[in-house]
Symmetry: C2
Subunit: 199 residues, 2 copies
């Protein structure tokens, strides 16, 4: 049986499909939205419409944007000869928040996976190879997650890029800033020890 009118039940059902919300929290969120109709529900509905119409993938790098070529690919300032390869747009955003990388990105949209039949084409790897010469790239930085799948994909990409004679690097592994040894896994400690630096 339904507790609320059809529209509201539909909204709850759709909200419950968002990651991080279940049926119960979706219901709570929808009630909150209805209570804050002017400050929250209306702006959110409008913004969602806008994004639904304008959001698209950059044809060059796979980043999310509102134009065919994303802001980063369109910016001449970011053409410093470096491409940072990430799994997902969320990872690109994380890199941008750190404000340390000034080059361009290439978003794979996942990792290689024989089980899910995700091959190099699905991950835009051929496009990455094309970009090396098109954009006069001298270094590709693999910023993939330190998971088995991420590392497998990194190795595959490194192999593909080898004949091109450019630098292929990956993020350093080690102790996170503010991290305590006692809470770190063995793998991280091993990696950090092997990559130790002279002070």
């Amino acid at each position: 049986m339904t507790q609320a009118p059809r529209d509201i039940e539909d909204l709850i059902e759709l909200m419950a499909r968002l990651p991080g919300l279940g049926p119960r929290s979706a219901r709570r969120a929808v009630l909150h939205l209805i209570k804050k109709r002017g400050q929250l529900l209306m702006p959110l509905a409008d913004t969602m419409q806008n994004v639904a119409v304008t959001a698209r993938e950059c044809v060059n790098c796979g980043n999310v944007g509102t134009s065919e070529i994303c802001e980063i690919c369109a910016s001449a300032k970011r053409a410093n000869g470096e491409i940072c390869v990430v799994e997902d747009v969320a990872d690109l955003w994380a890199m941008e928040r750190a404000s340390v990388f000034r080059g361009r990105y290439h978003v794979l949209g996942g990792t290689l996976s024989a089980l899910d039949s995700i091959g190099p084409e699905e991950l835009r790897i051929p496009r990455l190879v094309e970009r090396i010469s098109e954009e006069n790239i001298s270094e590709v930085i693999l910023a993939l997650n330190a998971t088995i799948d991420g590392q497998t994909t990194a190795h595959y990409i490194a192999e593909q890029l080898e004949p091109l004679g450019i630098a292929v690097t990956s993020l350093a592994q080690g102790v996170p800033v503010g991290g305590e040894l006692d809470y770190l896994d063995d793998g991280t400690i091993t990696a950090a020890l092997r990559a130790r630096k002279a002070l």
Copy 2:
């Protein structure tokens, strides 16, 4: 600095204001929405628009609906002489899910609170008193939360209704179905023991 185009950043910022979502999970939810544009983002944007336009409070009981009088207040079948008083629409939905109460509701929209200067008028208590005679009510069931504020409000309402000579009851307190004594607080055990029943 912004990582994404303005519209998308706006959407993240608005989503982060929903209960149960923070800035990080809002970002994840928005990326998920953009990836599932056809199946999720567009229907969600449309439904949200609909709800923003149609959702309103029932002028009689405070329930959320799409018309001036909510479905429950409009249904003659629900006019059985009983009103169930709840704090919030979420509580009304919880009661409806149990499918056990066949009367009408009165949604207070909160509890009495001197600190937040929430008085009887803000809680539709005068309207509740009016409804007793208008709708020929014989019993008011107080289904308020078993918190200090909920119970204070229940006592106040019981006092207001006393002169009307109708039955005023409240939900029983006791061991929840499936509950284990070992995990219950002392107050619940005390209440359950005092209200023990002959088998």
